[in-house]
C-alpha cells in the first residue's frame, strides 16, 4: 500500500514536470509577444528591451525554463500581462472561491440526484421509470454542457426572469451555472450506478440473500447499495474532468469570475504566464484528485487489494 502510494506520487511529479515542460516550450514557440503589437512598436527599442527584461523575456529560452521551474516550485507563476502586472498567484487565489462554489455544488447535486436515479432505475429495471432515467442520462452525457448552459440561460434568465444570468453578485448567481454543470454529472453517475447495480443484482450473494428469506427492500439496502456505490469512486476522476472542462464554457457564459472564465480570457489574450500557471494548476488539481480517489478506493473496499490478483 505505502509502496503503491509512493509510486503514484512519483508518477504525479513526472506527469506535472512533463506538462510544465510541454506548456513552457509550446508557449515560447508562439509567434509574436504577449504584448499589444501596436503599443509595443510605438515604444523605443530601449523601452521595449526594458519591458522584455522586466518579464524575463530577454534571456535564452533554457534559462527562462529553469527559472520558471524553480519559481513554480516556490509557488510563483510570474506576473500576468493581461491584468497588468498582477502576480498570477494572487489572480488565481481571488478566482478560486466562485469556481469552487459552482463546482462543488454541481458535484454534490449531481452525486445525490445521480445515485438516486441510478438505483431506482436498476431496481425498477425495464419499467417506464428505468427508461426515463436512461433518457435523462443519455441526454446528459451527449448534450454539450455549453448548450445546456445556453438553454438554461434562455429559459430561466430571459424567458422567465427567475435567476440572474450574466452577473455575479449573490448566491443566486451560482445556481444556474451549478445546474448546468451538474446535468452531465447526474447523467454519468446515474448511468454508472444503474449498470453497476444491475451487475450486483445478478451476483450469487444476492441470490443467497434471497435464500435467507430477506425482503427485496432489505436486499437492496444491505447488500446491493453498498456494493454498487463503491465503484462510483472510480468515475469521480472522469467527473472531475467533466466539471473542470465544463467550467471553462459555463463560467464564461454566466460571467462567473472564476478560474474557468479566467482561462478562456487569458487564452484569447495570449497571456503566457497566466496560461502556464493555470495549466499547471488544472493538471495538478486533476492528478491529485485522481490519486486521492485511487487511494480511497483501496482503503474503503476490502475486496480491492494491491496484490497482482484482483480477487
Amino acid at each position: 500500500m505505502k509502496k503503491y502510494i509512493l509510486k503514484r506520487i512519483v508518477y504525479l511529479f513526472v506527469t506535472l514536470l512533463v506538462i510544465m515542460t510541454a506548456t513552457f516550450f509550446l508557449m515560447h514557440s508562439l509567434p509574436g509577444t504577449p504584448f499589444d503589437e501596436d503599443k509595443i512598436s510605438s515604444l523605443s527599442p530601449a523601452q521595449q528591451q526594458q519591458i522584455y527584461a522586466s518579464y524575463g523575456l530577454d534571456q535564452p529560452v533554457y534559462i527562462q525554463y529553469f527559472k520558471y521551474l524553480g519559481n513554480v516550485f516556490q509557488g510563483d507563476f510570474g506576473t500576468s500581462t493581461l491584468y497588468s502586472g498582477q502576480p498570477v498567484k494572487s489572480i488565481l487565489a481571488s478566482r478560486i472561491v466562485p469556481s469552487a462554489l459552482v463546482g462543488i455544488q454541481a458535484v454534490l447535486v449531481g452525486l445525490a440526484v445521480g445515485l438516486v436515479l441510478g438505483v431506482v432505475a436498476a431496481y425498477k429495471h425495464n419499467t417506464p421509470l428505468d427508461y426515463l432515467t436512461m433518457i435523462v442520462s443519455v441526454l446528459g452525457i451527449s448534450v454539450p454542457n455549453f448548450v445546456v448552459a445556453a438553454l438554461l440561460q434562455y429559459l430561466f434568465g430571459l424567458k422567465w426572469g427567475l435567476l440572474p444570468v450574466a452577473y455575479w453578485e449573490s448566491y443566486a448567481s451560482s445556481v444556474l451555472p451549478s445546474l448546468a454543470l451538474s446535468f452531465g454529472v447526474v447523467a454519468q453517475i446515474a448511468r454508472f450506478v444503474r449498470t453497476e447495480m444491475l451487475t450486483v443484482l445478478q451476483q450469487d450473494y444476492i441470490l443467497m440473500a434471497k435464500a435467507k428469506g430477506l425482503s427485496p427492500a432489505k436486499i437492496l439496502m444491505r447488500h446491493a447499495l453498498r456494493n454498487s456505490m463503491l465503484p462510483v469512486l472510480t468515475i469521480l476522476g472522469a467527473i472531475t474532468v467533466n466539471v473542470l472542462t465544463g467550467s471553462l464554457a459555463v463560467e464564461s457564459i454566466y460571467s462567473v469570475p472564476g478560474i474557468g472564465s479566467l482561462f478562456v480570457d487569458t487564452i484569447k489574450a495570449n497571456d503566457y504566464s497566466t496560461i502556464l500557471g493555470l495549466t499547471v494548476f488544472y493538471s495538478a488539481f486533476y492528478v491529485v484528485v485522481i490519486l486521492i480517489i485511487d487511494v480511497l478506493y483501496c482503503v474503503i473496499d476490502p475486496r480491492i487489494r494491491l496484490a497482482p490478483a484482483k480477487e
Binding site: V18, L26, M27, L30, F146, A150, Y154, V241, I267
Partner: protein, 307 residues
C-alpha cells in the same frame, strides 16, 4: 400425447446413428451474427442509426437543395426568421442558416471522423506493439502512457490550438495527439487478455505461427473493442470541436461548424434564439444518436465491456 399404440415391433433395436448423437439441433451462429441479431432487436440503436444516416445525407445534400450558399452575405435580409425563403432563417450577415447548418454539420462530422480515424491508427498501433512485444518495450511504452493519461486532454488541445495556426487541420491534429492514449490502453489490455486465453494457447500448441495467431485470433477478437471505442471517440471529437469553437479558439467565422454556429447563435440569444436552437438541436441529435448506437453495439457485441 402418448396415445400411440404400443406394439411389439416397436421394441426392435433402433439403428444406431453416430451422427445423431453429436447432432447440434440448432444452426450455429458466429459471434458476429449473434451480435448483429441482438443489435437489430435493439430498437433504439436502429432508430439512432437511421437518424444518423439522415443527418449525414442532409450534411452532404442539404446545401445543394438550398438556393443559397453558406457564405454569401445579403445585408438586405439579415436576421430573417425561418420561413419559405430561408428555411432556418438568416444570420447577422443575411447568410442562409439552412446552408450554414448543413455545411457546418459536414465540417464537424469530417473533423470528428478524421480525428477518430487518426486516434484509431495511432492507438491500435501503439497498443498492439506494446502488447505483442511485451517485456522491456512494453514497460517503457506503458510508463509513457501512464504519464500521458494523467494530463487532462482538453488542456493539451487548447495549448496546441494556440500554438498552431487556426484551422481544420490543426483541430484534427490537436485532438489526435491527446486522444489516442485511451485506445492504446484498451487495445493493449484486450490483446493481453486474449494472449493468455486457452484458445490462443491451443493454437500455439498446435504449432500455429505467431503471424497467424495475430491475424486469425488476436485481430478479429480485438475488432469489437476498437469499433465500439471509435463509436465513442467520434461524438467526443464533435464535442471538443464545438467546445473549442464556442469558447473562441477553434474555427472562426466565416467558416462554419456546429460550434461556430452555436457560438454566433448564442451572441444573439436575446433577440434571435432560433440561430442558437437549430445548430444546438443538430449537435444534440448527433451526439445522442452516436451515444445510443455505441451503447447498442457494446451491448450486442461485447456484453462484458461496460464502463
Amino acid at each position: 400425447m402418448q396415445n400411440m399404440e404400443v406394439t411389439k415391433d416397436l421394441f426392435g433395436p433402433a439403428e444406431a446413428d453416430a451422427e445423431e448423437r453429436e447432432k447440434i439441433s440448432r444452426p450455429t451462429r458466429s459471434g458476429f451474427q449473434d451480435g448483429w441479431i441482438r443489435l437489430k432487436q435493439n430498437k433504439g440503436s436502429v432508430v439512432a442509426l437511421a437518424i444518423l444516416l439522415v443527418l449525414v445525407a442532409l450534411a452532404f445534400a442539404g446545401p445543394a437543395v438550398a438556393r443559397y450558399d453558406y457564405y454569401t452575405t445579403d445585408y438586405g435580409a439579415i436576421f430573417q426568421a425561418p420561413g419559405p425563403a430561408h428555411w432556418f432563417g438568416t444570420d447577422k450577415f443575411g447568410r442562409d442558416e439552412w446552408s450554414r447548418v448543413w455545411y457546418g454539420t459536414r465540417i464537424s462530422l469530417l473533423i470528428a471522423v478524421v480525428a477518430a480515424g487518426l486516434d484509431l491508427l495511432v492507438g491500435v498501433t501503439y497498443g498492439s506493439v506494446s502488447a505483442l512485444l511485451g517485456g522491456r518495450v512494453d514497460a517503457v511504452m506503458q510508463r509513457i502512457v501512464e504519464v500521458l493519461i494523467g494530463i487532462p486532454n482538453l488542456i493539451i488541445v487548447i495549448l496546441l490550438m494556440m500554438v498552431m495556426p487556426a484551422g481544420i487541420g490543426t483541430l484534427i491534429i490537436a485532438m489526435s495527439i491527446s486522444g489516442w492514449v485511451n485506445m492504446a490502453r484498451l487495445v493493449r489490455a484486450e490483446i493481453l487478455k486474449l494472449k493468455n486465453q486457452e484458445f490462443v494457447l491451443a493454437a500455439r500448441l498446435l504449432g500455429t505461427s505467431n503471424r497467424e495467431i495475430i491475424m486469425k485470433h488476436l485481430i478479429p477478437n480485438t475488432v469489437g473493442v476498437i469499433v465500439i471505442n471509435t463509436m465513442f471517440t467520434i461524438p467526443s471529437a464533435i464535442f471538443t470541436e464545438a467546445f473549442l469553437s464556442f469558447i473562441g479558439i477553434g474555427l472562426q467565422e466565416p467558416k462554419a461548424s456546429l460550434g461556430v454556429l452555436i457560438n454566433s447563435g448564442f451572441q444573439v440569444i436575446n433577440s434571435h434564439a432560433y440561430l442558437l436552437f437549430v445548430p444546438a438541436v443538430v449537435i444534440v441529435l448527433i451526439m445522442v444518436c452516436f451515444s445510443i448506437l455505441g451503447d447498442g453495439l457494446r451491448d450486442a457485441f461485447d456484453p462484458q465491456m461496460r464502463i
